[in-house]
């Protein structure tokens, strides 16, 4: 192992520290919105990190990850609508449904590879989108307002901005830690081995697809958690949040930050969402800048932000 003190790690540590101290800054300056904005960013970072687990380490390019955000969110929204407000019921249901969905579509999708895998995950996510828009009882296309956030029997109050922010941050750090443990475990090694050489892993005697499927389900479940958080954050859930463009944005966040690096997606999400917020304040034509920027990053900055930082560290 080389030294741990390099530009990349310093920046990661600074970002983590900044995220932790943000509520204090918000309280000092009286700027509530920055907390609202970063709550959203932290939740999306969790979703991007979960996508990175299968994209970056498993080599599975899922173009349908927004479906989990929707499933997690709708589980919370529908239960709340039916009068079940307890998070102890809502959240496990959200996670279980996401895992179940991932298990079913994973089992089917993993029969394909490459661009076909991209398309089949897209197909399933679009189906989930259309099912949600067909739920007339729960608002159909218009979505559903959640009038009361999940309750946890007085343990934590989700309507309190600071408490909710820290809950999301804890989920993010927890999620990243879990992913770190996974990729460094024997299981994670196999999954990464399958990505680089499937035949060899099969030959050694590993059931490649079984490992992939478990990885796929874990990723979906973490993203389902992000969905439950997001629904509580926006007090609102609609099919639009599962549309293919949202899945595309998640992919952009991962690649922006650096696919296959632990903290890359977190940085990518922060930069992507902040850029969007700031550019749209400066000019109505923000996409005129964002579009070519994306093209340039793909052409010249492979490995995303983490790749850049890595090159910086090496000198």
């Amino acid at each position: 192992m080389k030294s741990h003190i390099n530009a990349r790690n310093v920046i990661v540590a600074l970002v983590a520290l900044g995220l932790t101290l943000l509520p204090a800054y918000s309280a000092l300056t009286g700027n509530i919105f920055i907390l609202t904005l970063f709550t959203r960013i932290v939740i999306f970072a969790l979703a991007a990190a979960s996508l990175n687990l299968i994209m970056g380490y498993g080599g599975m390019m899922s173009f349908g990850h927004a479906a989990y955000l929707g499933i997690g969110g709708y589980a919370v929204g529908i239960l709340a609508h039916e009068g079940i407000g307890s998070g102890f019921i809502q959240w496990p249901v959200a996670l279980a449904l996401s895992a179940l969905y991932a298990l079913v579509i994973g089992a089917l999708s993993l029969r394909t590879r490459g661009v076909y895998f991209i398309m089949i995950t897209l197909a399933f996510a679009q189906m989930a989108y259309y099912i949600a828009s067909g739920l007339s009882r729960y608002g159909g296309d218009d979505g559903l307002t959640i009038y009361k956030r999940s309750t946890f029997g007085g343990l934590i109050d989700l309507s309190n901005r600071v408490q909710f922010y820290y809950l999301c941050l804890a989920c993010l750090f927890g999620g990243v830690y879990l992913i770190w443990r996974i990729i460094n475990s024997r299981f994670g090694m196999v999954v990464q081995g399958v990505r680089s050489n499937e035949q060899r892993m099969q030959a050694i005697g590993f059931h490649a697809n079984r490992y992939r499927l478990v990885c796929f389900v874990i990723s979906g479940t973490i993203c389902g958690l992000a969905g439950a958080l997001l629904a509580n954050n926006t007090d609102f859930i609609s099919p639009a949040g599962m549309y293919w463009t949202r899945s595309g944005e998640l992919m952009v966040m991962v690649v922006f930050g650096g696919m296959g690096s632990l903290f890359g997606p977190v940085l990518g999400t922060i930069v992507f969402l902040l850029l969007e917020e700031v550019l749209s304040q400066f000019t109505e034509y923000w996409a005129l800048i964002m579009g070519p920027l994306l093209l340039l990053i793909v052409l010249f900055a492979r490995g995303g932000i983490m790749g850049l930082l890595g090159r910086l560290s090496r000198g």
């Binding site: 509530i32 828009s133 609609s238 930069v271």
Partner: protein, 391 residues
Amino acid sequence: MKKAFWLAGATILALAQPALAGDTIKIGFISTFSGPTAVIGNDMRNSFELALDHLGRKMGGKPVEVIYEDDGQKPDVGKQKTEKLIQSDKVDFVVGYIWSNVLLASLKTAVDSKTFLITSNAGPSQLAGELCSPYVFSTSWQNDQTPQAVGTYMNQKGVKSVFLIGPNYAAGKDMLAGVKSTFKGQVVGEEYTVWPSQLDFSAELTKAKNSKAESIFVFYPGAAGVQFLNQYAQAGLKGQIPLYTAFTIDELSLPLQKENAIGVPGAQQWVNDLPFPENKKFVEDYRKKYTGLRPTFYGAQSYDAANLVNSAVVAVKGDTSKKDEMKAEMEKANFKSVRGPFKYGNNHIPIQNFYLQDVVKDADGQLSLKTVATIVKDDQDRFHDKCPMKK
């Protein structure tokens, strides 16, 4: 890398600007300024700016600052922008909202923070009924009202049967329900299309044609209205099955619909030629300030919204912390609406007239909308009983 740091710094600074507490009246304005329906948002912004010009850009002696935000026609984005305006910019009022679904998503944020929300277009039925709030006012209508007037007009014309077509979202459902509530003839069929992505109506038009209905009613705002009229004419239905509309033909769509729109009636609470002095001033100055453009009902409602806000701010002499007094003043509707008679019901939805409009060639040889008759007078929406607020 340096650039990235600089950008990050700029970002933090931009977000960190503390809200300027002080002697300005702050208004947030949410509408659609990107995508195909941005024309509607632009018209609303133009009219709102014109109203501010007419007010000398001051309300209750204090300068007015307006922050415009784009909802991209998406409920979740509209909700986020509402949050930003209220929490970060600390506005006194949020105004605007074209789309019923965007408004429904944003409502809770405004009401929970006790910020006044003035909808200058969207009017979902829930807002008039169970979701009505002391902090929410409308300068438009409840969705059902306009199609109800169309239904009444169809009764007057002796129409016996109708085929209904509309988009599958909050307003689309309200509109079709509105016609059904007043139309006395037979509803032969009812079709909903995917909103806003479905643009080809061939399957629906074929069904309408084969249903042998005597007439067709549609609601398609914005570009979809252009497409519908195009396809209706190309299918040879014009002259065969008369078309009745709500919010499908306006000054924005007319230049694209052209001859296809002639002879297609619609109902509206405001038409550009209404003979009130405030309206003449609004229409003339609009055409002077924005050359080549004509104001629409979206704009007229936004112009009214600025004047409604002004009436409240003037009543408290610029002290926007006196929310109860502002609410009481707005309930009186103490301003001159460009549409003429205007009062509020218990649910803060206007009680107003609805007019029959037709498309004609005006003096310059251009197509324009013209008031033909008054269909209903002092119409109140049919959900006000469900609103817990009482007068």
